[in-house]
């Protein structure tokens, strides 16, 4: 029955699961020119993220941000994507796995299908656009821009096979298709198949099974989504009316010991709920009251605390520290009642809500668990895989790696980081596969011809509510030289792309204006899409009518529409004046610079060196190891000193790594693939060349002036406390009472963010104290206990052993006073309504980390990189590009990005290495044509440009006529435009931003004023 074939392309890495993590891992490998097979049991890739409406902390839809990831574009032929495919068997071991893949029939020939939707219209009962709320139908498209873009049919559910077959105008429906079985060889395997979500149906007290208005957070997300069951309208499932009050209940299926809950924290739900509450008020109705019932608000990620504050202060999201007992709807009542209590008094509160969202956590997926068991991967009792305490993506089986929610509940940035880390380790085992590069059409003056401009308005429904796209299209048509204009509803929809191409060819368009969102998202996508139809990439202009019109003029449709028209007119004028340009191709440098010799930097260096890159590792101090040298053990028991010793040994002895200690970065120039960096090595200048740079400069342990720190010998930081426990166990045995205070110098005005690692570190120290001295009484005073993920189990362990955790409010902090031999700590236990005074033998302050602001600022200046408000290095996209930096070829890892525990730092180090390898794998470098050029006839060699250039690129060179003129090396030029602006003779023009283009745009804008 089944055909069994040997797979033609012998994939080198198998990635199981096509969610965001799987996609990231596969793309990293493909970009590093390694062969990869990506399989997913669903018909199309995209995973859970594509069901989300918007994601935190940007509160954007972000579908279009993923679109270039998943749309069919050039991946150099390294990536083989297979939908509807499962792994049925795995044999062999690291370096030589043989996997059996079974691809279920799609019953639709993807090559023939035009996605016309006829089958869907003929069999409407069979079609669903709303996974999560509607039952899946036989013909199912999961989300608007599914890749591969084709329908899929569940033949078991189809009653009229012949009718279905006949309805397709191109004969793409193949009702007799059979499953395909193939075998593939691979060197390593990445499991990225995600997790299941907790099903709360059996929790009668939350009413999920009985009450339509009680939904899970994912269902709520679908309700908010433009592609959801209500078409993006927020309506109560029970009666179709908009809700006035919505509540969230946290930790449903997480942090529990009964009724099927996981003992772990799912890590993402708090942020998820905050986002849903904010979006509810921001996008639907600012009058909707939003309340989150929580146990601890776990906003532990980078800048998440600020997001939490924004939710409270700016958006008025109400947070109630309480886990409700019931969600009820008495017979005959229209609303839901939540029964809860507050900390301050023993009393019942009953409050009415229109909708209740259960923040359901992650569970191990049973299918995935089975596959992991087949691979003999060791699992925890809850089914999630056990991973190494210093390597969160390595399973117990060599060559098998995990990432994303399959490894444990987490949010998107952490998933992306783990995915890159897994790809780093999996890719280290396989060789680069050479593939020829696709030829681009040559750039000729004919590319331009007489200007025929096409205007494409591409906005999502839910982003353009304020904009009248029809009127905008009509207006665009009226602009001279515009030969066609059209609106495409979903910019992320590949069928829109096809329609766009058709319109361009039909109208002989040679210049394009895209009226949509930011050029950062749109430009590259449209450049890639329009190149095959002969549009030069520099003849495309983007009018950002989303941010600059719809968003800034939210609630003022007249102003928004007027602005959108102006922006389009300006873009048309600009593109008319643009010239076709060709990119430069130059040989690339394949070495790396790693800045920072802590555990993060050394790990990154070793991973790169292991993959053949030559690495310069620069450390400011005289010694490798960084802040981790102060640590004894991780909470899991990992020996940090042994780790450091091992890393130092390997780093210093690796033939591909050159270590420079006592070294500072002094200057820097060039661009990705061609960097030059000047070092001061023990005071001596040295220049190195490199293609990519990883920043792993760490952060600084905080020493705030608080709670008698530095004044009273009983008071110390957690780092000090750890040392005492390790070095003076006799002293610890004498202790009777210990108090720890959390969030000292974090989450306050001076340092607004959460330091993330302090909660687990105080628990680690508490457990260590109890090991020495089981009779010690330990009190941990906290604001929100943020033991995310498996740290929750250590929190549980600490409670089990008698550690008492007491919440304090920021308005009523504890007091520490010297009291002879002791330090007296006074605090309020709100639940008892009593003050408590503890005579403490030791007071441990969780002081966390602050950015190494001074040195970061210096480095940021040399490298030209942005920092966050609190002085950490800023990544390119907090959600989807967590280790990439704004400047191409730069990556960030470890505490330089934000504070985190060692294992997470090492994961980021590996992720950064993986990302860097995507750069270093290239022998050549395509340089954008955006560089400055000098009209030597006009140049007076006045040196203004030489002085103005922030990168010291312009030089006065002598030409064959013996005249000294300015010369700008296109390879070195950053395209910043400073010289062009400064040049008094207007001899310098910046390609793509020539004066004529800008002036044309401005003339258009000011036409009426001038007239």
């Amino acid at each position: 029955m089944q055909k069994k074939t040997k797979l033609q392309s012998n994939g080198s890495v198998l990635v199981v699961g096509g969610g965001l993590g799987g996609i990231r891992a596969a793309l990293d490998l493909a970009e590093a020119r390694k062969d990869v097979i990506l399989v997913d049991k669903a018909p199309c890739i995209g995973g859970l993220m594509t069901q989300l409406d918007r994601t935190f902390p940007t509160n954007n839809c972000d579908l279009c941000t993923v679109a270039p990831f998943t749309a069919k574009d050039s991946r150099g032929g390294h990536l083989d994507m297979r939908g509807l495919t499962t792994v049925t068997a795995v044999k062999g071991k690291e370096g030589n796995f043989t996997v059996s893949l079974m691809t279920a029939p799609r019953f639709v020939n993807v090559e023939k299908c035009t996605a016309c939707g006829e089958c869907q219209r003929k069999y409407p009962e069979c079609v669903s656009f709303a996974p999560g709320l509607d039952p899946r139908a036989p013909t199912c498209m999961r989300y608007p821009k599914a890749t591969p873009y084709a329908y899929v049919i569940d033949m078991a559910k189809c009653a009229d096979k012949e009718g279905l077959k006949q309805c397709c105008p191109v004969g793409a429906i193949e009702t007799d298709a059979l499953p395909k079985v193939e075998e593939a060889q691979c060197g390593s395997i990445i499991l990225a198949a995600g997790a299941a979500l907790f099903d709360p149906s059996h929790l009668d007290y939350f009413g999920y099974a009985a009450q339509p208005d009680v939904v899970t957070s994912l269902e709520y997300e679908r309700i908010l989504s433009a592609s959801g069951p209500t078409g993006g309208k927020l309506l109560r499932p029970s009666n179709g009316q908009p809700p006035k009050k919505v509540a969230w209940i946290q930790c449903v299926g997480s942090r529990g010991l009964q009724k099927g809950a996981g003992a772990y924290c799912s890590s993402a739900c708090c942020m998820f709920a905050l986002k849903e509450a904010m979006v509810t008020r921001e996008r639907f109705d600012s009058e909707i009251e939003t309340t989150i019932f929580y146990m601890d608000m776990r906003a532990f990620g980078k800048d998440y605390e600020k997001y939490l504050n924004r939710a409270k202060e700016q958006y008025g999201v109400r947070l109630v520290h309480s886990r409700p007992h019931d969600v009820l709807r008495p017979v005959g009542m229209d609303k839901l009642q939540i029964l809860y209590t507050v900390d301050e008094a023993p009393k019942h509160i009953t409050e009415e809500f229109d909708m209740v969202v259960l923040s359901t956590g992650f569970k191990m997926n049973e299918d995935v668990k089975k596959l992991a068991e087949d691979l003999a991967v060791e699992l925890y009792a809850d089914g999630f895989p056990k991973t190494d305490c210093f390597n969160a993506v390595a399973t117990s089986v060599p060559g098998v790696y995990v990432c994303g929610t399959l490894q444990g509940g987490k949010d998107i940035p952490e998933t992306m980081t783990q995915a890159s880390a897994a790809s780093c380790l999996a890719g280290a085992k396989v060789a680069v596969t050479p593939r020829p590069k696709a030829e681009l059409p040559a750039v000729t003056p004919e590319c331009a011809g007489s200007p025929r401009v096409g205007v494409l308005v591409t906005l999502c429904d839910h982003e353009s509510t304020a904009l009248d796209t029809t009127a905008l299209v009509e207006y665009a048509k009226s602009i001279p030289h515009v030969v066609c204009a059209a609106a495409f509803e979903a910019a992320c929809d590949p069928s829109s792309f096809d329609a766009v191409k058709a319109a361009i060819l039909a109208n002989g368009v040679n210049r394009v204006v895209v009226a949509g969102s930011s050029p950062r998202y749109e430009l590259e996508k449209y450049q890639a899409m329009l190149a095959p139809v002969g549009i030069n990439k520099y003849l495309i202009e983007v009018a950002n009518i989303r941010e600059q019109a719809a968003w800034v003029h939210a609630g003022e449709p007249a102003a928004a529409n007027a602005k959108a028209k102006q922006l389009v007119a300006m873009a048309v004028a600009g593109v008319m004046a643009a010239k076709p340009l060709a990119d430069h191709v130059v040989p690339a440098n394949k070495n790396a610079l790693v800045v920072g010799g802590g555990v993060t930097g050394m790990t990154a260096a070793l991973e790169l060196a292991g993959q053949g890159a030559k690495v310069c590792l620069v450390e400011k101090t005289a010694e490798l190891g960084g802040v981790a040298r102060n640590l004894v053990k991780t909470i899991e028991g990992g020996d940090v000193q042994a780790l450091i010793a091992d890393l130092v040994e390997k780093t210093t002895s690796h033939p591909n790594i050159k270590v420079f200690t006592a070294t500072e970065i002094v200057d820097h120039s060039g661009q990705v693939g061609l960097f030059r960096t000047g070092l001061s090595v023990n005071g001596a200048y040295k220049e190195i060349e490199h293609g990519a740079t990883i920043l792993a400069t760490g952060a600084t342990p905080n020493q705030p002036q608080a709670f008698l720190l530095g004044e009273n010998s009983r008071v110390c930081t957690q780092l000090d406390l750890q040392k005492v426990v390790n070095e003076q166990p006799k002293e610890v045995k004498k202790w009777k009472n210990v108090v720890m205070i959390q969030c000292v110098g974090s989450r306050d005005a001076d340092n607004p963010n959460c330091s993330r690692l302090c909660c687990q570190s105080s628990i680690k120290n508490a457990l260590a104290i109890l090991k020495e001295n089981p009779n010690a009484r330990i009190f941990v005073l906290y604001r929100d206990l943020r033991t995310y993920g498996r740290f929750e189990e250590y929190y549980q362990k600490a409670r089990e052993l008698g550690v008492i955790f007491v919440r304090y409010s920021v308005d009523n902090p504890p007091k520490v006073e010297a009291a002879g031999h002791y330090a007296n700590v006074t605090f309020t236990d709100v639940i008892m309504g009593r003050q408590v005074v503890v005579s403490a033998d030791c007071v441990g302050l969780s002081t966390g980390f602050v950015a190494s602001r001074k040195s970061n600022e210096a480095l940021a200046k040399v490298f030209g990189l942005p920092l966050t408000d609190d002085g950490y290095f800023a990544e390119m996209h907090v959600k989807l590009r967590p280790v990439d930096m704004d400047k191409a070829g730069f990556f960030v890892a470890g505490c330089a990005h934000s504070p985190k525990v060692i294992a997470e730092n090492l994961t980021q180090a590996r992720a950064a290495a993986s990302r860097a390898m995507t750069v270093l794998a290239n022998d050549t470098l395509v340089q954008e044509a955006k560089f400055a050029h000098v009209d030597r006839a006009r140049c007076a060699a006045c040196l203004v440009c030489v002085r103005a250039c922030p990168f010291d690129v312009p030089q006065i060179t002598v030409d064959d006529k013996g005249l000294g003129r300015s010369y700008i090396d296109p390879v070195k030029c950053h395209g910043c435009g400073t010289c062009a602006a400064e040049c008094p003779a207007k001899a310098i023009q910046l390609n793509q931003f020539e004066d004529v283009q800008i002036l044309s745009s401005l003339d258009q804008l000011l036409a009426k004023v001038n007239a």
Binding site: R807, I831, V836, V837, V838
Partner: protein, 243 residues
């Protein structure tokens, strides 16, 4: 407020909660409280005596033994288990309350409950109203005879006591034989029509167990054993709870 300050100094002393932990499986999870408030949100006794389950557990955890073993709240909690039903940590607060009741000197425990227990201890019937075996037998036979005669359809109806080998061993709340014997009859009729093979025990028929409520471990165990033994001695298969 000063009087209310909890002062923690010196070494750890064994507290009431530690003793309870020792006798419960997994220590009743008593240490695991997350102070989330789910119990207090749904406890019908929240607010009585200015207490709720979370606060009670918290005071136990803080070692405030004096207060937790004297608050009358433990007699206002019915140990209905709504708390543990939703508690994320499945903390056995009802057992903590039970043991707090047990920590009261017996003579200080509520008189009504104590008297009922004492009464049950005085007779093998376990009746909290002190009904003796013979009195029960008399009432049952008398009522049965009356109904057999007055309602001839039920002339064959039986209400056996100590019938060897009966399938069901029934218990019966003392209230019916003592104060409203006519209320016994509907149950008998149902059993008769269903053709059930059942019996009461002359010993241990009473369904109530106030010694349990009194948290008098010795007594409630005694009372329970009397019932169980009678059912076993008679060779009954199923102990049928009629409550």
């Amino acid at each position: 407020m000063t009087a209310n300050i909890v002062s923690i100094t010196g070494g750890k002393q064994s507290a009431f909660i530690d003793k309870v932990k020792e006798i419960l499986p997994q220590g009743g999870n008593l240490n695991l409280c997350l102070t989330c408030g789910a119990c207090a949100s749904g406890c019908p006794a929240t607010g009585l005596a200015d207490m709720d389950p979370r606060k009670f557990l918290r005071m136990c955890a803080m070692g405030m033994d004096e207060e937790v073993t004297t608050t009358p709240w433990v007699w206002m909690c019915t140990m209905c288990m709504r708390c543990i039903y939703v508690c994320p940590m499945e903390i056995n607060i009802p057992q903590l309350v039970f043991n707090a009741r047990a920590a009261w000197p017996r003579e200080n425990r509520p008189k009504g409950i104590r008297d009922s227990c004492d009464m049950a201890m005085r007779t093998e019937t376990n009746s909290a109203m002190g009904t003796a075996p013979d009195d029960f037998k008399f009432v049952v036979e008398d009522v049965l005879a009356e109904y057999q005669e007055a309602q001839p359809e039920f002339a064959d109806m039986q209400a056996p006591i100590d019938k060897e080998g009966a399938y069901f061993f029934l218990n019966q709340n003392s209230r019916e034989p003592n104060t409203e014997p006519d209320e016994l009859v509907p149950l008998w009729k149902i059993l008769h029509l269903a053709g059930a093979d059942w019996t009461y025990g002359s010993k241990g028929w009473a369904a109530e167990n106030y010694c349990l409520f009194l948290a008098d471990n010795k007594c409630w165990e005694h009372v329970t054993r009397v019932s169980a033994k009678q059912a076993d001695d008679l060779g009954c298969k199923v102990f049928l709870n009629t409550e």
